[in-house]
């Protein structure tokens, strides 16, 4: 092959290719590697049936990680999503309590509640000038306390039709999984084509600069945290649909689990760099990995170790990049 760099088309392609962050390339490579390994090691892995299952199972982690991504892009972190899921899941099933007429108002109310609490996180961080880690940690404690005051045990149930969200299939593909993809697409459009979306990157990259440019940091943070709260509430509702009932501890562990796909996808914790595509790929990477390890009968204990190592590796790669840039 002769070098084709002189032709305009190929320079455009090279330039386009160079603009893809290394972290995305790494995640895609890992996904491919994982799929190939899985296909070789297990004959049940590379079946459309299994992939459709993973697609369905990834929905809850995906939605909550999407919210986490928005917050991390502002340079913050939201540790209250776990407690938020616990609260919203038990509240949803407790309030609906098997009555189909209540489904719509309760769902709307719960999502609004999540958004409101999230907004509060953002505003507290901004106006009281407290580190987001402390604000959302405190909020998590408050929410979990309230959840357990409401009920110590799973409460209520939801109508059969409500489970369509989790188990329904459209042309064989999970509706919950499709809804998750839809939310990611909306988030990508929001981040790249709206002023507020751009403001999220600006605030994360350089809060003072963003302020000087006339961006309202308070408003931007309120929106980012509010969306994270609302998405956590949606995750809570989705999990009710999957389990048929709520649980005051349903969200335990999600606060940390939701961060893994974000950092694996190349969004850096300092804020301002990364995006939702990376998170989406990160979610599938983690879900496929756990799926494969389950097929291989690898104990949960090894799965933890591998997850820890993935976090370290992913972050170390991004740090290297940050230094070179």
């Amino acid at each position: 092959m002769t070098p084709t760099q002189s032709t305009p088309a190929s320079t455009a392609v090279t330039r386009w290719f160079r603009r893809i962050p290394l972290s995305l390339i790494v995640v895609v490579a890992l996904l491919l590697l994982l799929t190939v390994t899985g296909t070789v090691l297990s004959d049940r892995f590379a079946t459309s049936r299994n992939f459709l299952n993973v697609f369905q199972q990834a929905a809850s982690l995906g939605v909550v990680s999407l919210g986490q991504t928005l917050v991390v892009l502002t340079g913050g972190i939201d540790l209250s999503v776990g407690a938020m899921i616990s609260l919203t899941s038990n509240l949803t099933s407790g309030l609906i309590d098997g009555n189909p007429d209540r489904v719509l108002p309760v769902v709307i109310g719960v999502v609004a509640l999540g958004a409101a609490i999230g907004c509060m996180n953002g505003l507290l961080t901004h106006y009281l000038r407290i580190h987001p880690l402390i604000v959302t940690l405190g909020m998590a404690s408050i929410l979990q306390g309230v959840t357990l005051l409401y009920s110590l045990a799973p409460l209520g149930k939801v109508p059969q039709e409500f489970q369509v969200l989790a188990y329904g299939r459209f042309l064989g593909v999970s509706i919950g999984g499709l809804a998750m993809i839809g939310l990611f697409v909306l988030a990508a459009i929001f981040l790249h084509f709206t002023r507020t979306g751009n403001a999220i990157y600006a605030v994360g990259g350089d809060p003072r600069g963003a302020h000087l440019m006339g961006i309202s940091v308070a408003r931007t943070l309120a929106i980012a945290y509010g969306l994270s709260g609302a998405l956590a509430a949606i995750t809570g509702i989705y999990l009710v649909s999957r389990m048929g009932t709520g649980d005051p501890w349903r969200g335990e562990g999600f606060e940390l689990a939701s961060i893994t796909p974000v950092v694996v996808g190349g969004t850096i914790l300092a804020g301002g760099r990364g995006g939702v595509l990376g998170t989406l790929l990160g979610v599938y990477l983690i879900s496929l990995l756990n799926n494969l390890l389950n097929f291989l009968d690898v104990s949960t204990f090894y799965q933890w170790i591998i997850q820890g190592l993935i976090i370290i590796t992913a972050v170390a790669i991004n740090v290297e990049r940050g230094r070179r840039a």
Binding site: I77, L133, I134, L143, G145, P207, I311, V315
Partner: protein, 327 residues
């Protein structure tokens, strides 16, 4: 976790009037709590209850001492709870009943602490990984190793000596409280009166300045993580003695509670400010309030709500100009 904009230079803190005021403010708040609670519930001031509070506060107090070192160098350690549980499980692995094995068990725990702390510190200082993620990753890895090692259920054989550490009294005072006092004296001396301690404040308060005066910041940061993990490993053993049994999740929740208590006690989460005595006051305020919730017959869940409100309110109160997030 701190954004570049926060790396402003800040004067190095001393035992200044402002700091003393803050500490006495905390002390006053603790006393106010004690007075109000004892009026509401006379049972509070009974010696038995007070000693109970102190016994409960001891393991958390130890963890907070270590956590303070990490916070002071602009870090934090989420792995303390995992270190506590792992050190507890490690202690049972000797299946020893003889008290003569106690020093060996403690040595093993300390070795574990040094190993974990070094990994944490290395990732944070040398690799530039955010402390949150680095210690989150070691938490998960340790958890996996611990469960693999025990295959899910840990042993339970421990020398009698652990009961003495956890529940025993020496001259009328709980033994684990005495251990806390000893650790406080040692670490307080290291932090406030030694060369290393001043370096800790400088690295946390003014990293650039620390670099310019030739402090080996990386070594200081790694040492802080090692101190934190070692203290957590010891606290794990004390907690096992107090609870009387070992499980895989010994110390669960201490990672967050220790940060809450330290922040309440005036340790700035973005480094360079606070002292060990304030941090300990934070622990006592937390434990006294928990105790009050029980004595007043309120639901236990109120503890969690109180904790959340207090940590947010306390950090809002402590913010001074040097700490402001921009815009």
């Amino acid at each position: 976790m701190s954004s570049p904009a926060e790396e402003t230079e800040r004067p190095m803190p001393r035992m200044s009037v402002g700091n003393l005021l803050r500490d006495y403010g905390l002390l006053a708040f603790l006393l106010l709590n004690v007075i109000v609670i004892s009026i509401l519930s006379p049972a509070f001031l009974k010696p038995e209850n007070l000693l109970n509070i102190l016994t409960q506060a001891a393991p958390l107090g130890m963890v907070v001492l270590g956590q303070a070192f990490c916070l002071l160098v602009r870090g934090l350690d989420l792995s303390v709870a995992s270190v506590m549980a792992t050190s507890a499980v490690l202690a049972t692995s000797f299946a020893a009943t003889d008290n003569a094995m106690m020093p060996v068990i403690f040595a093993a725990a300390i070795a574990l602490g040094i190993a974990v702390g070094t990994v944490n510190g290395f990732l944070v200082a040398k690799r530039g990984v955010s402390p949150f993620l680095a210690t989150l990753a070691t938490t998960i890895v340790l958890q996996g190793i611990r469960f693999l090692y025990t295959e899910g259920s840990s042993g339970s054989t421990l020398p009698e000596g652990f009961a003495v550490i956890g529940q025993g009294r020496f001259l009328g005072l709980p033994v684990n409280l005495l251990i806390l006092v000893a650790l406080t004296l040692v670490l307080g001396y290291v932090l406030h009166f030694s060369r290393f301690g001043r370096q800790v404040y400088l690295v946390g308060g003014n990293p650039r300045g620390a670099m310019l005066v030739g402090i080996r910041s990386n070594a200081v940061i790694i040492s802080c993580y090692v101190i934190c993990a070692v203290v957590a490993a010891i606290a794990g053993l004390c907690l096992v003695g107090y609870v009387g049994q070992v499980d895989q999740w010994t110390g669960k929740g201490y990672e967050l509670d220790s940060i809450v208590a330290a922040v309440m006690g005036g340790i700035a989460i973005n480094g360079g400010r606070g002292n060990v005595f304030g941090a300990l006051l934070g622990v006592f305020i937390l434990v006294v309030m928990f105790n009050a919730v029980i004595l007043l017959g309120l639901p236990v869940q109120v503890q969690m709500i109180l904790k959340g409100i207090i940590v947010i309110a306390a950090s809002a109160l402590y913010i001074t100009d040097g700490n402001r997030r921009v815009a």
